[in-house]
Amino acid sequence: MAQSARLQLHIPMPAARPGDPPDFSHIAVPPAGFNERPDSLADPGTLGDLAHGLIRVLDEGGDAVGAWAPEIAPAQLIAGLRAMLLTRIFDERLYRAQRQGKTSFYMKSLGEEAIPVAQALLLGPTDMCFPTYRDLGWLMARNYPLLDLVNQIFSNGRDPLQGRQLPILYSARAHGFYSLSGNLANRFGHAVGWAMASAYRGDGNIAVAHIGEGSTAEGGFHEALTFASVYNAPVILCIANNQWAISSFSGMAGAERTTFAAKAIGYGLPGLRVDGNDFLAVWAATQWAAERARANGGPTLIEFFTYRAAGHSTSDDPARYRPAEEAAHWPLGDPVDRLRRHLVRLGQWDDVRDAALVAELEQAVREAVRQGEASGTLGQGKPSLEQMFEGVFKEPDWRVLEQRRELGI
């Protein structure tokens, strides 16, 4: 029986800090194909293992194994590889553009590209993604014009958002991509409302919402899950557990005690824990949840287990708080390499085609940046001044009209 003791305040600490060797010994990696695949309408009460396991499809050799191995046409796999590579090349180039002073801010999704890319290819054109700032891959997979991305990042006259929003906080309704903003977790509940609206209308559209593991601590995360479960909303609620929230490790959001997928249990929902660096596992888990949602089976919570291989943003230097070599030691590998290996194994890919694709994409990005620069970079060639006053309301009120005049426009 417990003894009374002097109480102590527990402060979670990560396994390794700069100077320490990377340490992922606390992360258990089950073999690919380990988990069962229950029916997509299974009773959540029977799914506890999936919330504590790790759904993996691609094995070391690049083969797709186990019950979760999805049927994907090679062309789709290649489209996925292409979108992931394009995301990575674009990130690299635009990150540099920020360093060159062409924009104020940039964020990469290095190492996490498989998640939005697989979902964008799998889900329908009228489904809606409520993204985080690490979901550029969705837009790449949906063929959003590179030039529009560059113009938004440069806040120039051709910026689709007309200079009103921070770089990379895109909005792309036609591409199923909801308006991004800086406030974490706030849009998780919008996805639930959007899905409730689809159900109210009797439409077939479902929503997919993304949030980072650190942001699950916000009250809005809980409120979104509560509404989703109470109204059985057709929504897929996805946590990208990339281990870090700026400098705070996932233990600061509760990972010392259990998985993020386990949070589903308290709402009576299915919780799936998935290898987020495994394109096929992401695809299979999302497909399972989408089937469930479309059949009025309601919401699913998915934890995508992954790693933020780059810094948090251009304002961040991860070497200040984690071992520099940590990314290289991430036990689940790199999503691009793993999908590549699978395609090679299928006989659908080789170094020649790969080199050609990379060259083509680098050329496309270079070209888009060149054209974007022609329309202006931050501070040069911004949108017309009226745009500052547009869209506060549908119709401007006297305050905005007077202030425009005061500014002489």
Binding site: S171, G189, A197, R201, V230
Partner: protein, 339 residues
Amino acid sequence: MPGMTMVQALNDALDTMLALDPEVLVFGEDVGYFGGVFRVTDKLQAKYGPTRCFDTPIAEGGIVAAAIGMAAYGLRPVVEIQFADYILPAYDQLVSEAARLRYRSNGEFTAPITVRAPYGGGIFGGQTHSQSPEAIFAHVTGLKTVIPSNPRDAKGLLIAAIECDDPVIFLEPKRLYNGPFDGRPGQALQSWDGHPAAEVPAGHYTVPLGTAAVVRAGHAVTVLAYGTMVHVAAAAIAASGIDAELLDLRSIVPLDIDAVCASVRKTGRCVIVHEASRFAGFGAELSALVQERCFYYLKSPIERVCGWDTPYPHAFEWDYFPGPDRVAAALRRATEAAA
């Protein structure tokens, strides 16, 4: 035309819009089967079914977040926050999301939601059932804020709010729900019966947002008020015998600045009345606007009569509440002060 209480008029507005527009949904805590703790949604679930009017979990932030997502999909959610004091958990959703969605997405997504909340004091509700938070919404670019003072306006303004393509905070003076109130707690409760503004037209009509009403024309001083304070100010004017011009602003965003300036330029004096605490309350903006635009017309200092800079104190309701005597005293100061 039968007289209606403000509760009935608001219920009629929701009934009218639920009937006209299948995209209108009404939800909030206890608004479904029960019809709301103030009965504003009475019988709507029975009439339109549980998917048109329903209860929600107790999570104001979640309610507004869901409404924003629905509005982005194309619906017209009308949500009730059970008391304006409890709208604060939704403040971030209202400010950072609803108010900014159109602007930041360059119009790709919009949030035409209406957020209703019973508001203000006068019912011995204590600290957390009496507050008047309009100022914290008026400061937020992208939000409209409406405050009716009688049944006819309440219905017309609520329909206008629901049809408005921008997010609207709709604050309902709960002390006026079932009768007018002139700020004198002593007497018997008054009823809306026979009050001209209780004659509520049937069916669809709107009172456009941003138009003040001249409740009483006068020449000695302009009184700016809204909500419950319109009735208190009218009583104070009658008691003081001063020929004041009383404006009911009806919506504070958009504000009917032309009506305000026209009146003050005529009278040269101004008294601003609200129930919220004075410091950095909405009266400050009204005072600043009037002195900026009517400086050379002003014959005496603009007066503010407001709740004190304390929390809303249960036992001291009528000491805190800016009643007709305090308003009348301000009218005298404003009219007597040397030019």
